[in-house]
């Protein structure tokens, strides 16, 4: 059972976050990366609430800090979420609620 690679010392770039999210969305929606539109709502790729919460957990492991389970409702496209998280990373480590 793999532990997270949560030892990022540098902030993740918006580009890296976008690529990571595209990979996740394409797996859930069972489509090709090239078909994923980063300005499309997550819900339009068939993400249900179980997927959204699970993805918020995987995202925590990826970025290395705590993320609210409802993040994908707050930032509802790949673009918005990647933008938010890269800015968040810059403005220090966020700790919203317990994991």
């Amino acid at each position: 059972m793999t532990q997270s690679n949560s030892n990022h010392t540098d902030n993740l770039s918006q580009q890296a976050l976008t690529t990571w999210l595209v990979t996740k969305v394409k797996t859930i929606a069972k489509i090709e990366s090239t078909e994923v539109d980063i300005n499309e709502q997550f819900i339009n790729y068939g993400l249900n609430s179980v997927d959204a919460v699970n993805l918020s957990g995987e995202l925590e492991d990826y970025v290395g800090y705590e993320i609210p389970a409802s993040i994908m409702y707050e930032f509802s496209t790949i673009n918005e979420l990647a933008q938010h998280l890269s800015a968040e990373g810059n403005s220090s480590i966020s700790t919203q609620g317990k994991i």
Partner: protein
């Protein structure tokens, strides 16, 4: 006459006899113990809450015995031990607990209408909650966008009523006044709690669970679960639902063993946390719906460094939603490497209208899975398929495989009934599941018509019994119950029965552009005939293939089931009707078809 063994007596007995023993533990997402309650602390906290309720709520004398006189108290809690003490506090006060899902401030427009409807239907005027939720609610409405309040009737209504409710904050230092608690005498039909079922948002149905219902269900659960004082339950199930409440909160105290709770969010974020807690506490019992086992299969990867063992488990319950035999087989197989005993998996059937559990006493064996002749199955007749299950190809279309939900629990009377003639179905025939037992609830709160139609039904051949109509279809085979689907979803074409799930699987397999898990099959009745409609999500760029896809769907459904389709609607990814937990909503989809509301690609 009062009943002499209620959950109140049990709490007091445990506090007296084993005061220092751990009753409940709540763990955070990273597995740390957030708080613990032993039986003495549990009793004291609950009594303080009970006294506060008794001193602020109106307990009117009941001149008319037919009118329920117990105040209803809403429980608005995050997953926590505070929910448990508040629940017991209600029962100890003589009031009726009304558990509600915690408010999600991110999606208030969706979560508040349901809460408002529950408050209105139950008539609860006292709300028990935590300091944090209470201040969140107040600060939300201080800073809320005025337009949102004007736009949403439920938010507006809630804002106006906040000041009118009697709020009891149960996690703040409560006055130590448990000595002022007035003992209550419980009659068998006195209500313990209202279990609101998902139903429609506008008209949620509050299943009335009496103290007697609760005790009877616990008694029959124990006959099968057979846990003892050294057992341990690890659960992430929401405590405001019947499986979490009856199974993981009440059953442990009924027997006197430790219950370890974590939030559903902790599990959903990292499914492995469930396994880690089972390993740490050497849990003997756990429970979850089918989707959770599927999530574990997809998300938990075993390697040698994990050091997680599941061999302490002797009961792994699956219930609360349709059980898929492939998921159970894969789960049992995948995690047997880390000590999971496949025999421990216990498929079960239950519903809130029967308190919680109905059937489930046969552990997983080869007998749990039955392969049936498909042609006769469509006619509602059960004939076991001759060939050995393992010699058949996966896509064999002459047979289908079903998983049993176990045998009816002791003292539960179960009948398979023809839903049209209301006569018992002949042996080996599919019919509606009807139930009679002391676990059957008292009805739906303040909904006499719905209560009558569901809870007060008799067979056309009067056998002097009153039954609960479950709305579920199934059959009995070798003493075991098999659930085949919901009565209202059944598609009847030319006198033959088709389950939407089976047709939907064919649709998914018909063309690679059709998205799996995102198709709906429904029938629509008109004056002279019944027509089959298919709604299917197709991948984003499939519109130029639309004719080809439709043709493939027609062909595959015809080959598999020998039926023809009236019309096919291809829609965009994510646009099929689903609930927030991802269940297909066939009925709303049907309305969209008849009202011409579907947006095709």
């Amino acid at each position: 006459m009062p009943i002499n063994n209620t959950i109140i007596d049990i709490i007091q007995d445990r506090a007296k006899n084993t005061p220092g023993q751990r009753a409940y533990t709540f763990i955070t997402g990273n597995g740390a113990e957030l708080n613990n309650l032993n039986y003495q602390q549990l009793e004291l906290k609950s009594l303080n809450i009970a006294t506060a309720i008794q001193q602020t709520c109106l307990f009117t004398e009941h001149q008319d015995a037919s009118i329920n006189h117990q105040p209803r108290i809403l429980l608005l809690f995050p997953p926590s031990l505070d929910f448990i003490t508040a629940f017991y506090g209600c029962l100890l006060s003589g009031a009726v607990a009304v558990p509600a899902a915690p408010l999600d401030f991110m999606r208030l427009e969706r979560t508040l209408p349901r809460l408002m409807a529950i408050l209105e239907n139950s008539g609860a005027c006292t709300i028990l909650t935590t300091d944090k939720i209470y201040s969140e609610i107040n600060s939300f409405f201080e800073n809320v966008d005025k337009e949102l309040v004007v736009k949403s009737a439920a938010i507006n209504k809630f804002k106006i009523s906040i000041a009118k409710f009697n709020w009891l904050i149960t996690d703040k230092e409560m006055v130590e006044h448990s000595t002022q608690w007035q003992p209550v005498s419980i009659e068998p039909h006195d209500l313990a709690f209202l279990q609101y079922t998902s139903g429609s948002t506008s008209k949620p149905k509050g299943v009335m669970i009496s103290h007697e219902n609760m005790m009877h269900n616990l008694e029959v659960i124990h006959k099968v679960a057979q846990q003892n004082q050294d057992s341990c339950f690890v659960s992430w199930l929401p405590m405001y639902h019947d499986m979490g409440l009856i199974g993981s909160v009440l059953y442990p105290i009924y027997i006197g063993f430790h219950s370890v709770q974590m939030s559903a969010i902790s599990f959903l974020k990292r499914p492995i946390r469930w396994f880690q807690a089972i390993n740490k506490y050497k849990a003997t019992i756990t429970a979850a719906p089918n989707f959770a086992y599927e999530l574990c299969i997809n998300k938990i990867h075993i390697d040698n460094s994990s050091a997680i063992e599941l061999n302490s488990l002797d009961l792994v319950l699956t219930g609360a939603e349709p059980i898929r035999s492939q998921v159970i087989k894969t789960f049992a197989d995948k995690f047997s490497d880390i000590g999971l005993n496949p025999q421990a998996i216990l498929p079960s059937y239950g519903l809130a209208e029967s308190t919680c559990a109905v059937s489930g006493n046969i552990k997983l064996t080869t007998n749990t899975f039955k392969r049936l002749n498909k042609q006769s199955f469509e006619q509602g007749v059960i004939i076991e398929h001759n060939a050995q299950t393992n010699t058949l190809p996966q896509d064999d279309i002459s047979s289908i495989e079903l998983i049993s939900s176990g045998a009816p629990l002791p003292s539960v009377e179960l009948k398979i009934v023809n839903p049209v003639t209301l006569q018992p179905s002949p042996i080996n025939h599919i019919g509606e599941v009807w139930l009679a037992s002391r676990s059957i609830a008292q009805g739906y709160w303040q909904q006499p018509n719905e209560s009558e139609n569901t809870f007060n039904q008799t067979l056309s051949i009067d056998d002097k019994s009153v039954y609960l109509r479950t709305g579920d279809l199934g059959f009995m085979l070798d003493g075991q119950l098999f659930i085949t689907g919901r009565l209202k979803d059944l598609i009847i074409l030319n006198g033959l029965n088709y389950y939407p799930q089976d047709i939907e699987i064919s649709v998914e397999q018909s063309h690679p552009e059709v998205r799996s898990g995102c198709t709906i099959a429904v029938s629509v009745d008109s004056q002279d005939h019944t027509a089959l409609y298919i709604v299917a999500e197709v991948r984003a760029k499939a519109h130029e293939l639309s004719d080809e896809i439709k043709e493939a769907i027609r062909r595959k459904v015809n080959v598999d089931h020998n039926i023809s389709i009236a019309d096919i609607f291809l829609i965009q990814p994510g646009s099929i009707n689903k609930t927030s937990s991802g269940k297909l909503q066939r009925n709303t989809c049907k309305q969209d078809i008849t009202c011409n509301r579907l947006k095709c690609i």
